[in-house]
Point group: C2
Chain length 360, copies 2
Amino acid sequence: MREALPPGSTIGILGGGQLGRMLAVAASRLGLKAHIYSDEPGCPAFDVCAARAVAGYDDEEALLRFAGAVDVVTCEFENVPAKALETAGREASVYPPARAFAVAQDRLEEKEFLRRLGIPVAPFAAVGSRDELDIALKGIGFPALLKTRRFGYDGKGQVVIRSEKDADAALAAIGNVPAILEGMLLFEREISIIAVRGRDGAMRYYDPSENVHQDGILAVSKVPAPSGAACTYAAREIAAKIAGALDYVGVLCVELFQQGDGEPSLVVNEIAPRVHNSGHWTLDACAVSQFENHIRAIAGWPLGDPARHSDAVMTNLIGAEANRWPEFAAAPDTCLHLYGKAEARPGRKMGHLTRLHPKT
Amino acid sequence: MREALPPGSTIGILGGGQLGRMLAVAASRLGLKAHIYSDEPGCPAFDVCAARAVAGYDDEEALLRFAGAVDVVTCEFENVPAKALETAGREASVYPPARAFAVAQDRLEEKEFLRRLGIPVAPFAAVGSRDELDIALKGIGFPALLKTRRFGYDGKGQVVIRSEKDADAALAAIGNVPAILEGMLLFEREISIIAVRGRDGAMRYYDPSENVHQDGILAVSKVPAPSGAACTYAAREIAAKIAGALDYVGVLCVELFQQGDGEPSLVVNEIAPRVHNSGHWTLDACAVSQFENHIRAIAGWPLGDPARHSDAVMTNLIGAEANRWPEFAAAPDTCLHLYGKAEARPGRKMGHLTRLHPKT
């Protein structure tokens, strides 16, 4: 293993959204500098970094210059082009590994990867044509979810098929791109686990959160999830298997469906090779947050204690909800986070609240 | 009262040390930008801000340009020249008020201000000459502390006088500048209280910490202090009286000696018109830190809940101690903070640790 990057080193971050912003702040806590690369001049992370690069993710020269100016490169979003990672990798170490992005960027590859590891997933089939959709629907039944293989997030790029009549419209709705059909599972709740793996293979796990989505966007994450200890251990085992298979370095989020309320029966919904919205509560309820642990992992530092000192409920502030900040700022036991985005467009994540409660 | 500064506004901070760094990060949490003004090009706060100005504190043009570019001005150190505050004040609101700096910058004015408010202080006398020192020593007795009136911090600019023989050497040691002689008090412990006052006069108080100094520099702050509830209320009353008399806005620290272990008997040692080292534990043990509450106060926001979710022990990392960061990073329940200073000079504050414990 290479030596840890000493304080004063520079973390290069591809992407300048709120996740990059929180990563940059976490780096500063450790005496590390952040250099942000983004294609948006006014992006949130630019307000809290030591250096900035504004260029496209296909600008090879800018990427090489950026990677040459930093000590390690990471990403704050999963849809970074493979070519950008490869280019940056010529000048600096890039974590997490490119393979993790390849898997997470393609829902079909992701499902196949998980199935090969023996990890339960919903029934699925590749859909490249109307004929293949018919065959897939026969195998999987109704209702089913048709999803684009690539560039899906926050409920985008997916549509429910309730009967054969919906099939044409569904293909049109997702733009007739390569897709995957998934069976819709009955489940008790959605949970996620945030895990972190160091360059030496060490792993740490945050407590799983229970997540509630609205309109396909995460609305609320609660810890502890009511899923129980057996479920926590099962979730950790799944995260460890995935991280090990990818030789992963950094924070990884695994979203799961919990079926039944007794013995844990977990099905992986998707994986995110990055810090994750469902782990924002770790900023305020843990000694070391997911953001700091990601920085520690990629910098080769000892991983931090993920223990939780408080129970927490994290609520996203979407679009105009953020305009209620004076009310949220005055609430007791409440940590208010605003991301510095100028325009409160509908569906846009503008900030979040974490309410802390004594640990039960 | 003027309206609160909305998210997206810019906080101007005079000074770029670790306090400015932590203020800038706190501003970012609320969706506010930080513009840092410092006379040192490589200062710690420059790594985490949206805009920077490098110029002297006597550069009127630079100060006007800076104040014109921000929405409010504050300071991260107390020895900012009165003229700089006055200049900035022509272009922007400046908080805390200039009067608070005038009082805190001169130990004689500070003691006289406190005495006028009926707040207990050590016996003291102005010393402008060798003759005045003799007279003061007769009134105050031995041992006594001779301190420069201005520019003292971290135990600098003060010397103990144990007998008449020390008098000449003491005056020479502090450079024969205008001074104050103070009686040395017996006390049980040193505590401090961090208070915050909003633009509307609202006040909030953090729990007092017990502080241990080494070589005149703060070494450790512990909460809760073992001083008890009556002492906490007495400390709050003192802080409220001081803040009210100064029409204060922002975070104020009051350092106190607690005499006796029974009924609280508090004597004010000094006041600091800024966020304070003895309040660093609030970053990790409270929903809203002293840094965020200072930003909220000067921005006209509702003050945040200062309640403490954990007990905490904050330890400063001075000079080469910070080189032990790999060991501190690996410790459980420990929040490690490094300030991004390149050179670990002896006596220099390089970072701090906060160890969290379940609340007793």
